[in-house]
């Protein structure tokens, strides 16, 4: 319904004609007041502005979640008081490459979100802008798989750390490094929340792009 309606909208601009010999046979200038479009435009503006505000608020939440995830993972450092033959008595996020990637990816996402805040404000101030929204949707679409990759790689390793795998002879290390495991699991949850927020941001930008 919306699509066919907007294709029928049109604005007619009257162009004044010069006096000529056949002036009396020429038709009178046409002035079409595009009242329909003028009445609809404030409504569309308000609705797009609302979407822009929602986008801005979501971005703030995503910054909090991404930076919380990166910090929680990056400040892990558990040292066990005892010493055993087989396990190292210190657990750090550096020891597992998936966790290193996790910290880097979440920090990158947090930095990108902070840098994208001005563009989000521009989309609130000027709701009909296309270029800024298109840029936001492009970068958000790139950020979704980045954060999802980091979160699920870390989740996979955390699952392995909690449960172990008897087929590959990988022992569950969470039974010893309890605090480390809890912190890391919390970071993974925060990162998944960031990923969901990014997906919602993509859809919000797409909905706000339409009906241009």
């Amino acid at each position: 319904m919306d699509s066919t309606h907007s294709t029928k909208e049109s604005t007619q601009i009257p162009i004044p004609m010069t006096e000529s010999k056949s002036a009396k046979t020429a038709p009178p200038p046409v002035v079409v007041a595009a009242t329909k479009k003028a009445a609809q435009r404030p409504l569309v503006t308000r609705w797009k502005r609302g979407l822009g505000i929602f986008d801005f608020i979501l971005r703030i939440c995503a910054i909090a979640a991404a930076l919380a995830a990166a910090t929680a993972m990056g400040t892990t450092n558990q040292q066990l008081p005892f010493f055993t033959q087989f396990f190292q008595f210190k657990a750090d996020y550096n020891d597992l490459p998936a966790f290193t990637f996790f910290v880097i990816a979440n920090a990158t996402a947090g930095a990108y979100l902070v840098l994208s805040l001005p563009f989000s404000i521009v989309c609130i101030v000027r709701p009909h802008i296309v270029g800024a929204r298109l840029m936001l949707i492009v970068f958000d679409t790139i950020a979704v798989p980045l954060i999802t990759a980091a979160a699920s790689a870390a989740a996979s390793i955390v699952y392995l750390a909690h449960n172990g795998n008897s087929n590959a002879n990988w022992a569950a290390i969470c039974q010893q490094f309890d605090d480390f495991c809890q912190r890391v699991s919390g970071a993974v949850v925060a990162s998944f929340i960031t990923a969901v927020i990014f997906m919602v941001l993509v859809v919000v930008s797409a909905v706000a792009l339409r009906r241009n």
């Binding site: 162009i15 004609m17 998936a98 298109l134 996979s156 390793i157 990988w170």
Partner: protein
């Protein structure tokens, strides 16, 4: 000077139809990559000729839960992509559709998230299997299960290609929505 009136506000649908055709072909490529990855992972089955006391002598995707999740996620996403071909054809036929494009973009984003989650969970495990972590006594199993590891790595390449194509599809839908 002639009298006239300039009509504004009607965008040509020809460009959107071109975008829709490109979308259809990209979807076909994504189906190929994702399906190939799922099948390659699901048919892993390597049995070692020797017998060892401590390590199991057979490797299947079932043995590692992340790989099982990858198979399930890839299968769901390839089924979704096959079904979404219908929506893609609708966009070729009716180039002015707006609501269905937004719906397709929403579903594509969800599918990309799911596929990326499965692929990178499997990638983390594959990286662990290739290198191991000596600090926590997790040894690299790829040194024994060579063919299993190669097959699993190959299937991951297919599904990452699928993710890349899905990203392109989302961007195409966004561009098509903004051109009206």
């Amino acid at each position: 000077m002639k009298v006239g009136a300039v009509k504004l506000g009607v965008a040509p649908p020809a460009a959107n139809r071109g975008i829709a055709i490109l979308d259809f072909f990209l979807r076909l490529i994504a189906i190929t990559g994702t399906l190939a990855g799922a099948i390659a992972m699901a048919t892993t089955n390597q049995t070692l000729p020797f017998f060892s006391r401590f390590v199991r002598f057979r490797a299947k995707f079932n043995d590692l839960p992340s790989l099982a999740f990858f198979v399930v996620a890839s299968s769901i996403v390839s089924a979704y992509l096959i079904l979404s071909l219908a929506l893609s054809v609708l966009h070729i036929v009716k180039a002015n559709a707006v609501n269905s494009r937004v719906l397709l973009l929403l579903l594509d984003t969800a599918a990309m998230g799911l596929l990326m989650a499965g692929s990178s969970a499997a990638a983390a495990i594959v990286q662990l299997a290739h290198e191991g972590i000596n600090k926590v006594n997790w040894f690299a199993i790829c040194q024994q299960y060579n063919s299993f590891c190669k097959r699993v790595s190959g299937s991951l390449i297919g599904s990452y290609a699928g993710v890349l194509v899905l990203i392109l599809l989302i961007l195409l839908s966004g561009v098509a929505l903004s051109r009206r």
